[in-house]
Symmetry: C2
Subunit: 270 residues, 2 copies
């Protein structure tokens, strides 16, 4: 048993999809979310910038006395996990391992697609991880940067009936549709917000895996195995952002399914 | 507080260097070591074989009810950590992150060399991790497979006055001496056994980092931070091998500085 909170961070709002799953799976945990909206998006930044931001965010959460950190950002998960694990002696779960394991277990045809940010695709971490988990060697992986989907989500264009959303989805996912995967990893936590639009474009064929959900389930299992769960009634939740708390709070409700009041926090770099 | 044991595994005897450090740093922990001598060496095996062996070893330790696993094998640490983290909801420490962090902190000239097995060098994980940890961007890394050092250690040729040991060291480390590093990562847990011979060949210049020691220290720090340490007087130690227990026990004393009685255990693959 460990009463310390769990920290979750992302470049902005997307990681709230993981937060929502944690809230559901771990009602007794104290949870603290940090969304670095001021510096979003991360996916077009240099590797050095991504690492400095990852360090600052993990440092902020470590400063809040967390026991574990869920890195709900595909870009940081792909570029800085070894750095974070080397610097902070905490439990870390990224959106890499568990979601890839789910994709490998889920696929029947062996055709797995990965949609992510530019920096994630460039790092090649999802490709590497999928191949590592694929004991059979029968996997065919197709990875594609879908940076304009991040922009669409951030601008609020998420619904299939929104022409901007539909246009962005068609432009980015055409090669993925051509590839005909039976499993699509939504390897950026922004993308589940466009799930309906993506589904409308791709049809019912491929299974969509939200990396935030899979990572939250993995963290929950790990806390249970390690005996680090909190017991003692409903836990508290805090939502922090480096951006505008009012805007963040308003948009967050769409991710979480309930209203929140975010507080402004600005971690120092490195 | 968590009374469950800590597991450590390696392809053979080398990981006992990490075990010795754990015994010193964590006297109250229960420790269980598994050396897969029957399948050693791992460093010349295919990636698929390395992953299957890593799974079997972690599975054996998980079956003993461990809370944490120190992967004391550079080859498995370089090729299968995401797989192990995805499969077992335990605390994992590899010989990758902490030793690389120590190298990056230690170097003054920025010239870091890595000596490892063939499969470790081929995976490129130490290179990648060092670059990830190097915020300054000033690191020059030179990595070299030194497979014949593994053979020398396994045949008992470790001392500088042993001509076979001296010959193997000179043959493998000449390019590293030419590179003139100020920090040398001994990224295979066999190599610290040849430390005197390596030192005799390279001179006093470079600092030698034993990856097993650095990983053991990292695991100790992580258990403390997570409140997962055992309390309750001296812990027990078990030493298991898939090879000949008598041979293992005899050679193990040289690694540990005390005598042991090993037991024979054979994990099932995958």
């Amino acid at each position: 048993m460990d009463n310390r909170p769990i920290g979750v961070f992302d470049s902005g709002l997307g990681g709230l999809t993981a937060m929502r799953t944690l809230e559901r799976l771990l009602p007794e945990e104290n949870l603290i979310y940090f969304g670095d909206s001021r510096n979003a998006p991360y996916g077009t930044r240099t590797v050095e910038e991504i690492r400095a931001l990852g360090l600052a965010n993990a440092g902020f959460l470590a400063g809040q006395g967390v026991k574990a950190i869920l890195v709900a950002c595909g870009t940081v998960s792909s570029n800085a996990m070894e750095l974070l694990r080397a610097r902070f002696p905490l439990l870390f779960v990224s959106v890499l391992e568990a979601p890839c394991a789910e994709a490998v277990q889920s696929t029947r045809t062996g055709r797995v697609a990965v949609a992510a940010t530019e920096a994630t695709i460039k790092a090649g971490a999802f490709d590497r991880c999928l191949r590592e988990l694929d004991a059979s060697g029968r996997l065919t992986v197709f990875s594609k940067a879908c940076q304009s989907l991040v922009r669409a989500v951030e601008a609020g264009h998420t619904r299939p009936e929104d022409p901007e959303a539909a246009r962005a989805v068609a432009a980015e996912l055409a090669p993925i549709r051509d590839f005909a995967p039976d499993t699509l990893l939504l390897a950026c936590t922004h993308f589940p917000l466009m799930e309906d639009a993506i589904r409308a474009y791709l049809g019912d064929g491929p299974r969509l895996i939200s990396v935030g959900d899979a990572a939250a389930a993995a963290l929950s299992a790990q806390l249970r195995t390690l005996g680090l769960e909190r017991r003692g009634g409903p836990g508290w939740r805090r939502y922090c952002t480096s951006g505008e708390p009012e805007t963040f709070s308003r948009l967050a409700a769409g991710f979480l399914g309930h209203t929140i009041t975010a507080e402004r926090q600005v971690p120092q770099d490195g």
